[in-house]
């Protein structure tokens, strides 16, 4: 069924276009004035100003160090296997003789690469990591001049990741163990 739109005929004054013109002048002047002199612009000048990201924002995944500055990753390769776009590649120490730099870990990766061009920031690696060694952080604008430069290696990932204040799993385990050791027993 056709709906008849009730069009009000324009008055003579309106037909002159003058009310519309004056209204337009008023609106544009108000906006130009607001932008120029009252700082009411809506533009965010991006590289200098950045959005505040949400608390649970998933940015680029980086490796973290523990409270003593040691590598947390133990080269278990779970993240490598779980990574949906296969962005992570871990080279285990193998026979290279590389020892873990903390006492209560067997090994650490010889090389740990994340291809940031492939990464989809899903957070699976963080979820699967038994050592809490990899975390999605807040970075979102990763830029480089070549594709190779966007494959981040272990050194770079550790540097970017920093020290994680997260759950200090092994420290607590060690303390628990020591507590058990030193528990007074009846002889």
């Amino acid at each position: 069924m056709a709906i008849t739109v009730n069009r009000r005929p324009l008055s003579f004054w309106e037909k002159l276009y003058l009310p519309a013109i004056l209204g337009g002048l008023k609106v544009t002047t108000k906006h130009a004035w607001g932008t120029l002199f009252q700082g009411k612009k809506v533009t965010m000048e991006y590289p200098e100003q950045k959005w505040a990201v949400p608390v649970n924002y998933r940015g680029a995944p980086y490796l973290v160090r523990d409270q003593d500055g040691n590598t947390k990753c133990v080269s278990c390769q779970l993240c490598e296997f779980v990574c949906p776009p296969k962005a992570i590649r871990i080279t285990p120490p193998g026979d290279s003789g590389l020892k873990a730099d903390r006492s209560n870990a067997e090994k650490m990766p010889l090389e740990f690469e994340i291809n940031m061009l492939r990464c989809i920031y899903c957070g699976m690696c963080q979820e699967v990591c038994p050592e809490e060694a990899i975390f999605l952080q807040k970075d979102y604008s990763l830029t480089a001049l070549t594709r190779e430069a966007l494959i981040y290696d272990k050194k770079k990932l550790l540097a970017l990741g920093g020290v994680s204040p997260g759950i200090q799993k092994w420290k607590n385990k060690l303390e628990e163990a020591e507590e058990q050791e030193n528990f007074p027993v009846k002889t």
Partner: protein, 349 residues
């Protein structure tokens, strides 16, 4: 004598080109402010950042943007699509840009400097010349629409021709009261008449309104930018053009704006005169002559800003609304205006 003319032509064209370059920037900046944005504020040659305070300020103002734009136009690929009519395709930008430049010839942009009248050609049929040349500009657009062998440019060309015939007549008619009052076609004479009797906008306000609206249509500016109409016709007549050929159309549009503003200033706002500080007399010193040129430029730039401002204020008129406005509103109004002016002059004499 010839050398003086060549010098004047060179300076006038140079200045107009400069104004065109920076009115593009003004367009972008003003549109940005109206739309709560910032506008171009990044482009700068590398050395500018070492200049304290002034450098960053100019960069934020976007002063260097037109240079980058110009460079971009020069080095971009000049693409000719398959199936265009080559001769016309190449000819159209030139035909669009030459009349736009020629109009400036008769406009007196100052009084006298060093015994030279500050007008390139002091024709005694100045207005007729302007109207003749201005209507040539539309051929470039129509030809571009025809030559591109593509539907959107073709629509643009058709619309442009319809627009031209709807507005050219009202525009011509709107100036007749001015001529009746002054009794002379020479633009310099019109200015000197205004210097003694006051600005013509007071005597013929309706003529000014019609002339102004018609010049919006003449220069293909919103609300009458039907031939271009980015939102419906992609780019209208210059859809298929790229690089320097496109830049020429751009240049033509803005040069037309400059010459229309100049015409409005000359016909209705006293040209280079101001009614105080002795600026309404022919200059006797170099300084005075330069001040008068600056007065002219200031008045003209005011109208340029109005042109730009209006573009970001109004929606586009529909094809038929435009012709309705031209034929059924402005033409009768202009005729009545002529009649009233004639009767008024007759009663006074």
């Amino acid at each position: 004598m010839v050398l003086w003319s060549i010098l004047k032509i060179a300076i006038a064209i140079g200045v107009v080109q400069g104004i065109v370059m920076y009115s593009v920037l003004a367009e972008r900046k003003i549109s940005a402010w109206i739309q709560d944005r910032v506008g171009p504020n990044r482009t700068a040659p590398p050395f500018v950042k070492y200049i304290p305070i002034v450098g960053p300020f100019l960069t934020r103002l976007g002063i260097f943007q037109p240079l980058a734009d110009g460079l971009k136009f020069l080095v971009k690929e000049d693409f000719t699509p398959a199936g265009v009519k080559h001769i016309y395709f190449w000819l159209a930008p030139a035909i669009a840009v030459i009349p736009a430049m020629l109009t400036i010839a008769v406009i007196p942009f100052g009084s006298v400097i060093g015994g030279q009248k500050m007008v390139i050609a002091d024709l005694n049929v100045g207005i007729l010349y302007t109207f003749g040349i201005v209507s040539m500009g539309v051929y470039g657009i129509v030809l571009a629409g025809y030559a591109a062998n593509s539907k959107y440019p073709f629509f643009g060309g058709i619309r442009s021709s319809a627009q031209m015939i709807s507005y050219e007549i009202s525009m011509g008619m709107s100036v007749i009261p001015v001529l009746l009052i002054v009794g002379n076609l020479n633009l310099s004479e019109i200015i000197s008449w205004q210097a003694t009797h006051g600005w013509l906008v007071v005597y013929a306000p309706l003529a000014f309104v019609i002339f102004m609206v018609a010049s919006f249509a003449e220069t293909n500016r919103t609300p009458f930018d039907l031939p271009e109409a980015e939102t419906e016709l992609v780019g209208g007549y210059h859809t298929e053009y790229s690089s320097m050929k496109f830049a020429l159309f751009f240049l033509a549009e803005y040069s037309n704006m400059v010459s229309s503003s100049a015409m409005m200033v000359t016909l209705f706002f006293g040209g280079w005169t101001l009614p105080f500080w002795g600026l309404d007399q022919s200059a006797h010193s170099l300084g005075m002559g330069i001040v008068q040129i600056l007065v002219f430029l200031a008045k003209m730039l005011f109208f340029m800003v109005v042109f730009i401002w209006v573009r970001w204020m109004f929606p586009r008129f529909r094809y038929d609304q435009l012709m309705d406005l031209g034929w059924r509103r402005f033409l009768p109004l202009a005729l009545v205006n002529i009649l009233i002016t004639a009767v008024w002059l007759w009663m006074r004499s």
